[in-house]
């Protein structure tokens, strides 16, 4: 028995140490969002697509912004600054280009030279050639791109399949918490997750069981990422 415990503790230490090797290219990411991303964090030089929720796209930036990195948001003309601040984005290190018009892609390439994360709301359909050119610049300068829309080649793409608010009644109450059902598609395959926001800030998913029961409409159980040690523990218990 003690041998088994030793083996398990060693295994756990190995899993905890493993991501450290990849960390050079990892950007600070909220731990609540780690299961959504293939490496457990945003990686420098990669593009990510988020469809269906601007809050989720901004939540990906929050930890990096709070750690002192600069972010750029391109093409979001209806930017809610209070919501962004509530999610945890430092507004004085977040540069906005609300209406770049046709320059959006070129601007994303230019700003990716300095800004650690660039959020891009693509003006229309983006061809694979433009995307590849931008990806090359991302890789060269080591910044991450979060696209709120379609993108040809991504490291991970998140699609909001369902949303449920709580706190509001028929004629009373206030919006307080939100649960998003998110489908992620990356090299791990297609996975389903639940992301919770409470009073505008992202909140750790509690026990996965309650989250799974949460979105009945979506009809999917939560499949937590196997790389997350927490998910492993809860699965073991």
């Amino acid at each position: 028995m003690p041998q088994l415990a030793t083996v398990r503790s060693l295994q756990q230490r190995i899993t905890e140490m493993q991501p450290l090797r990849l960390d050079e290219r990892a950007l600070p990411t909220a731990p609540e969002l780690a299961p959504l991303l293939p490496e457990g964090a945003l990686r420098r030089g990669c593009a990510y697509a988020v469809q269906g929720s601007r809050s989720l796209a901004l939540a990906l930036l929050a930890a990096a912004s709070a750690s002192g990195l600069w972010c750029a948001v391109i093409g979001c003309s209806e930017f809610g600054a209070e919501a962004a601040a509530g999610i945890g984005i430092a507004l004085d290190r977040c540069v906005l280009a609300p209406d770049p018009g046709d320059h959006a892609l070129g601007l994303a390439g230019l700003l990716s030279e300095t800004f650690s994360i660039v959020v891009l709301h693509p003006p229309g359909k983006v061809g694979p050639r433009d995307a590849e050119r931008l990806s090359a610049r991302l890789r060269e300068h080591g910044s991450a791109l979060v696209v709120t829309g379609d993108w040809p080649r991504t490291e991970g793409s998140l699609h909001v399949t369902g949303s449920r608010w709580s706190g509001l009644d028929r004629g009373g109450g206030m919006l307080t918490a939100r649960e998003l059902a998110v489908r992620s598609r990356d090299r791990r395959g297609i996975l389903h997750h639940t992301v919770r926001f409470e009073r505008g800030a992202i909140r750790a998913c509690g026990a996965d069981g309650t989250a799974a029961g949460g979105i009945g409409a979506a009809g999917h159980a939560v499949v937590a990422s196997l790389r997350s040690p927490r998910a492993r523990e809860s699965a073991a218990s």
Binding site: S53, R54, S55, L58, W70, S77, E78, F79, G80, A81, E82, A83, A84, A85, G86, A90, L91, D92, R93, C94, V95, L96, A97, P98, D99, P100, H103, G106, L107, L110, L111, E113, T114, F115, G162, S163, R164, W165, L168, D169, R170, G171, G172, G173, M174, L175, T176, R178, F197, R199, G200
Partner: protein
């Protein structure tokens, strides 16, 4: 005791009266011709006729009066009624401190041409370090007489000069009479206290000269009536009993140097750093203008740099061929480089109204002047910190070149009722967006945010419409839902429609809550309503005089 500087104090008695006279003369002269302002100087013949008694008043109190009024018994600090009863012929004018300061500036400039290092203290009073002028003119008395002659040339013959050890003693010497003990008066307007004799000179003066009213009253109560008596006390004991004001009064009374800093801080003489470039023929496109201004910007910055200055706010004046002036003051978070200046000129020219009908229309002259400067030492890049924010600034500026001035920037939170009012877009390169300082400012502003009745509790909509689009709220029978007299919805909403899109079923809604403001002006109350759709989306609606708008979306 460290040696104390010799200070020359220049004092113009009744300065507000002089300033008022100069201002009146300038306006009278300006009535027929646009002449240069007052100090062009008409020296001797002016004071020949005996002037009428005159007093300048503010809030019913006499601030200053001339000699004629003083002989009738008028004093500063008197009520106007009392002064008028003492001197029925008194001419009363309102006192304007701004005129005092403005009219004193040419006097300081004239003194600066004569002696270096003039420290303006207040309108009518300035201090000069005496050592340099004394060596140049061969003694303190000749230097003082030279300064007095210069003032006489400006039409101020009754000025007084006091020279003593330290600023306070010099001030008291300038106030002293010619036969007071310890005073040498080589000229009717000059009072000199010999070096090292300042303490003896100050000894018999009343204690009010060095202490404020409350402290002086207290000292009188303790039997300390002269500066000598105060100076005789040990400084530590004074500090224990009266604190910092007591110590500074004690040091002044003892003729000792101030506890820290120099006795006086001379101002840097004003210089004109503006640079100008005329164009013949006028230039009509912003890009050509920017190209032509590259050399101008370099020249302008060179001139500033020679004075160890950098420009942090820039005034750009564009003159078009019809003579119209287009002026704008540009702020900068750091300091202007030549490329920054050229960009500002290009943006300003690009934003000018264009008259395409007229051939040859364009810019005929550009003038750039510093609106605010800073010492160059405050803008040296540090050894370790020349990192991210410099690069960010570089790239943001390049993006700005492509998109225009307001194309890229940061957002600040401000106070306000509507969501769109609560945030402010600050174009990049405006002083407010300075990354180092804005965090503190933002924190301060959060404190100022104050209660905004009707504000939305936490989560804030992540999509905020700058111009709220109209929306329709419909009940189950297809009739519009409005707000009744009791601030409630007239019916349960069943559907909502935004612009021309399809009708969406409503799943839940909050109580409408009012935004009441400016009720005294008859502004109709506005109402907010949170609506949750069956699809899971949530919106924030705004009701204003019978119509609904979508203020934000919880996306």
């Amino acid at each position: 005791m460290p040696s104390i500087e010799r200070i020359m104090m220049v004092r113009v008695p009744d300065w507000p009266v002089h300033a008022h006279r100069l201002e009146a003369e300038a306006t009278a002269a300006g009535a027929h011709r646009e002449g240069s302002p007052a100090p062009s100087g008409n020296p001797a013949p002016q004071p020949a006729p005996q002037p009428a008694p005159l007093a300048l008043v503010s809030r019913h109190l006499v601030i200053a009066c001339n000699e004629a009024a003083r002989t009738e018994g008028v004093r500063a600090g008197l009520r106007v009624r009392e002064a008028q009863s003492r001197c029925p012929g008194l001419v009363v004018h309102p006192h304007d401190p701004e005129v005092d300061a403005r009219r004193f500036a040419p006097v300081i400039a004239a003194l600066e041409r004569l002696v270096p290092g003039v420290a303006p203290l207040e309108p009518g009073r300035c201090a000069i370090r005496a050592r340099g002028p004394a060596r140049y003119y061969g003694g303190e008395a000749p230097a003082a007489i030279a300064v007095l002659e210069a003032l006489g040339g400006l039409g101020l013959p009754d000025s007084r000069i006091g020279i003593a050890d330290g600023r306070f003693a010099a001030e008291q010497a300038a106030l002293a009479g010619p036969h007071d003990p310890g005073i040498a008066a080589p000229h009717p307007g000059v009072r000199i206290v010999a070096p090292g004799a300042s303490a003896a000179f100050l000894h018999p003066l009343p204690v009010e000269r060095a202490a404020d009213t409350a402290l002086a009253a207290l000292l009188h109560g303790l039997g300390i009536r002269t500066l000598g008596a105060l100076a005789a006390l040990p400084e530590a004991a004074v500090g224990q009993r009266f604190g910092a004001p007591g110590v500074s009064a004690h040091r002044r009374a003892a003729g000792a140097p101030t506890t820290r800093g120099a006795e006086i801080q001379p101002r840097a003489p004003a210089r004109d750093y503006a640079a100008e470039l005329p164009f013949e023929p006028p230039i009509d496109t912003a890009d050509r203008l920017a190209f032509a201004c590259a050399g101008l910007a370099e020249r302008f910055l060179d001139g500033l740099l020679r004075a160890d200055l950098v420009c942090t706010a820039l005034r750009v004046e564009l003159t078009d061929d019809a003579g119209g002036e287009h002026t704008h003051i540009w702020q900068h978070p750091g300091r202007f480089t030549a490329a920054d200046i050229v960009n500002r000129i290009r943006w300003q020219a690009g934003a000018m109204p264009r008259d395409v009908e007229r051939a040859g229309a364009g810019i005929s002259a550009v003038r750039i002047a510093p609106a605010r400067t800073d010492r160059v030492s405050a803008h040296e890049p540090g050894l370790w910190q020349a990192g991210a924010s410099e690069r960010v600034h570089h790239h943001a500026t390049r993006a700005q070149n492509r998109l225009g001035h307001a194309g890229i920037g940061t957002v600040q939170l401000t106070g306000g009722r509507l969501l769109a009012d609560r945030q402010r877009f600050v174009p990049w390169g405006t002083a407010d967006a300075a990354p180092a300082r804005s965090a503190e400012r933002q924190r301060a502003r959060v404190g100022q945010r104050g209660p905004w009745p009707g504000a939305i509790p936490a989560p804030a909509p992540s999509v905020v419409f700058p111009h709220p689009p109209p929306a329709e709220l419909i009940d189950a029978r297809g009739r519009p839902v409005l707000i009744d007299g009791e601030d409630l919805l007239t019916a349960d909403p069943a559907h909502v429609r935004f612009r021309n899109r399809e009708t969406l079923p409503v799943h839940g809604w909050s109580l409408p809550w009012p935004l009441r403001e400016r009720g005294w002006a008859g502004a109709p109350p506005r109402f907010r309503l949170q609506v949750q759709l069956a699809s899971g989306d949530a919106w924030l609606l705004l009701h204003e005089s019978g119509r609904w708008f979508a203020e934000g979306r919880y996306d």
